[in-house]
Amino acid sequence: MIVLKNSIYFFKSAIREREFIFWFIAFPIILMVMLITIFSSMTRVERINFNIYLVKNESGEFSNMISEVFKRISEGEDKIFNLKLMENISLKEKFFDDLKKGKTNLILEIPEGFDTGILSHITFKMLGMESNPPPIKIYTLKYNVSSESASMIVKNIFDRMNLEFVKKMRKVNEYQVKTEIVGSKAGFSYVDFIYPGIVIVSIFFTGLMGIGEELSWYKEGKILKRFQLTPISNLQFFLAYFLARFYFFIIQILAITFVGKVIYKSTINPLSYYFVLYILLTIFSLSSLGFFVSSVSKNTNSASVIAQIIQFPLQFLGGIYFPVFDVPWIIRWIVIINPITYLAAGIRDTLGIMPSPYPLYLTILVPLLYTGVFLSIALRKYKVVEFS
């Protein structure tokens, strides 16, 4: 009863603070609106064509076959390439300049003697002798996304051609894949993708600053000392305080859900049983981080510094705003040890937005582990400290 009663006082104090309302309710919504406005255009489907030069310096059966394949997939409305075919011409510096300037995304060269080479390779292979196939040269621009994407497509085309060729040469078992559609999901929606991220960000901010920094202020302003002088126990105090923040978390989630569902027509179902349970885990986990920060900081300033240090890497390398699977190895370790990574993946999974790339047990165990560690440090610190 005492916990419940006092949680209302703490809640009243928070809800009456304009800064609190701005940073922990208005700001996540503003962030959500901004991100949706900026990134939702990324989900518009547009056909991409790659410009490629095909330099054909051979006119045998194999090279004609290759050039025919490329010509066909460069025709019609569904064409992949804008093909420029050049025959019997030596590669010039100008072509490489075109590649560098982006006039073409890739240069494919079928060199002179390619057909002879292929025939020799097949003959040697049939005789059981070792032989290397003649090369087809592909020129791309390193670190250029379009060029590297075009290169991947070209490689796939050659893989498919190789397979067809092998199938004709030998008896190859081909497995038929039976496909059954068991359900359907609307196309990718950035609103759906960002919704769980914003929910996590708002809980994260409230945990880190709304709990971490405020409790540090309570410590610095000797408010905790004042509570310690009364018969209320530390546990009762912290439960009442946490409960007040819990009411706040519910308001935050309701506000974000309202914007997502009503204004942006998100398809998420926030009443999903798994989502609600996972949100509770997220709240416990990120609140314990706040208690931890307040317990290890001497005053509000140091709490603020610690919160900033924690906030940036955890927020931006937690997969909240964009996927973080392919970040460079030098920062990948932050992604791996970051509890937000697992919370973001887990929450998206529970909402059916995107399957978690991590096993289910990790999306539960990692946040639980952090909660345990943070809470035990905080409880120990608050137990031994003489508030001064």
């Binding site: 005492i2 006082y9 104090s13 009456r16 000392k225 004042r226 002088l229 009364t230 209320i232």
Partner: protein
């Protein structure tokens, strides 16, 4: 629990922080229904002593008996019977005065009605004001109100008037005298000698973690001798001061403020000696004051320093 003469008994209390002995073997006893004052400059160890008794700090050594019961650190039972007002008053922002009192009232099994407390601390018209909109004096009265929510037998007030204007200070003194009339025991720390003189039944003067003298304010003042004190501003001059000593003037000189204080039973003779000697040494004497001795003089006599020098 009620069969005791002294509500608090402290014996050989010790607390050290690194090399600093904050409390160095403190002993005292507090009579029920009295106003007991710890008087001393900043850093004398008053707050640490109080916080050990209140259970906020763990002593390195010594014994504490509170409400007739020996305790290492006070528990819930004792907390129900004490009220504390801390040195600095920070409260939960955005709660109103009434909400703050109600919140603290809810921590105790029994206590006073919030409206009665508001009336007593004279903040009824501010009941709905947020605590961060109160003036310094109003905040301090609220702090005393918070210490009273459980109708405690024993009140600890740590420098309750520091930083307040004379009028606000006076209104706090009135509150404390009313509480004394109600039979409450008040433990007060202060570095204002006039506060101790006005309120205290018993004064312990603390310096560097030790109690250097204790008694009633009257006895302490009498103990330094002299019916009057003469204060004058005069430049520091060794031959002048040596000559006064030769003439038998009982004085202390503060070179920082250029102020000479002389205790005497014969005002006319002493002032004549001071003026004559100053003239002989070609010194000008200004701002002459003749007054009764006070606790400040006691502290000065005992330590050679003034209470608020630091």
């Amino acid at each position: 629990m009620n069969n005791y003469k002294f509500i608090v008994e402290v014996e050989d209390l010790r607390k050290t922080y690194g090399n600093v002995k904050a409390v160095d073997g403190v002993n005292f006893k507090i009579k029920k229904g009295s106003i007991f004052t710890l008087l001393g400059p900043n850093g004398a160890g008053k707050t640490t002593t109080l916080e050990i008794i209140e259970g906020l700090r763990i002593p390195d050594g010594g014994n504490i008996k509170i409400f007739g019961k020996e305790v290492k650190r006070i528990g819930k039972e004792e907390k129900e019977l004490i009220g504390v007002s801390l040195q600095e008053t920070q409260l939960i922002s955005h709660l109103t005065v009434k909400e703050t009192l109600s919140m603290f009232r809810s921590f105790y099994k029994k206590g006073l009605k919030v409206d009665d407390i508001l009336e007593f601390i004279n903040l009824k018209d501010k009941a709905k004001s947020p605590v961060d909109k109160l003036s310094g004096g109003q905040k301090q009265r609220l702090a005393i109100g918070l210490a009273l929510v459980n109708d405690p037998e024993l009140l600890f007030l740590d420098e309750p008037t520091t930083g307040l204007d004379p009028q606000a200070r006076r209104s706090i003194w009135d509150l404390l005298l009313q509480l004394k009339k109600q039979g409450k025991t008040i433990v007060l720390t202060t570095h204002y000698m006039e506060e101790a003189e006005f309120l205290a039944d018993w004064v312990c003067i603390m310096d560097y973690g030790k109690i250097i003298r204790e008694g009633t304010p009257e006895d302490l003042i009498k103990s330094i001798g002299g019916e009057s004190v003469i204060e004058v501003d005069v430049e520091e001059n060794h031959s002048f001061l040596d000559r006064l000593k030769e003439l038998g003037v009982n004085y202390t000189y503060n070179p920082k403020h250029g102020r000479l204080l002389a205790k005497t039973d014969n005002v006319l003779e002493t002032i004549d000696s001071i003026l004559k000697t100053a003239r002989e040494c070609s010194l000008k004497v200004r701002n002459e004051i003749i007054r009764q001795p006070n606790l400040e003089d006691v502290f000065l006599t005992l330590t050679g320093r003034q209470l608020r020098e630091e």
